[in-house]
Amino acid sequence: GPKVLQIPSHQIIDMGQMVTLNCDPVSNHLYFYWYKQILGQQMEFLVNFYNGKVMEKSKLFKDQFSVERPDGSYFTLKIQPTALEDSAVYFCASSFQISNERLFFGHGTKLSVL
């Protein structure tokens, strides 16, 4: 079936550095999402994105976070600068419509901030 790919699987960085998480969504999908899961906790919505713009973001989407998808390439989540509390698994998802249909998820990128 359709797949969402996330690169890398695991990223280790020092606090204060910048990190970019990459997502290759399903090819004909138009809506993109990031979710965050801290170890042992629920996965939580961060942001959704359509037509080059953020549609909605949660309170977890700090000012240090940004998303973009330049020219239909990767959908990226950038954190600059990183903080210890950013350590989590970040899941990318995509969907064809913005309705309440299913989302297709990637396998996640584990971010470890030291």
Partner: protein, 112 residues
């Protein structure tokens, strides 16, 4: 406010036994409910979904779930589990334009 609760963090059953993973939700409007499964080192995969109609929905790999409005529940069931069903299972509520609320997940282990 909307919420999803999976009361069992871990469940262990014997291979061939029946399974129920519990999910309770809180939402004032019509819920769009999903069960996802996550195998080790893989992404979330959809097992089944409920939008409306028949409260018993069939999914992949012989899983099914029953929606109950009166109990605010959406429990996942399987008549006979296989060792390959070992994974983490997430119940989720889609409440608005792709925004999902997830339960904390239930880790299923299968005893030989």
């Amino acid at each position: 406010a909307q919420s999803v609760t999976q009361p069992d963090a871990r469940v262990t059953v014997s291979e061939g036994a029946s399974l129920q993973l519990r999910c309770k939700y809180s939402y004032s409007a019509t819920p769009y409910l999903f069960w996802y499964v996550q195998y080790p080192r893989q992404g979330l995969q959809l097992l089944l979904k409920y939008y409306s109609g028949d409260p018993v929905v069939q999914g992949v790999n012989s899983f099914e779930a029953e929606f109950s409005k009166s109990n605010s529940s959406f429990h996942l069931q399987k008549a006979s589990v296989h060792w390959s069903d070992s994974a983490v299972y997430f119940c989720a509520l889609n409440y608005n334009q792709g925004k999902l609320i997830f339960g904390q997940g239930t880790k299923l282990s299968i005893k030989p």
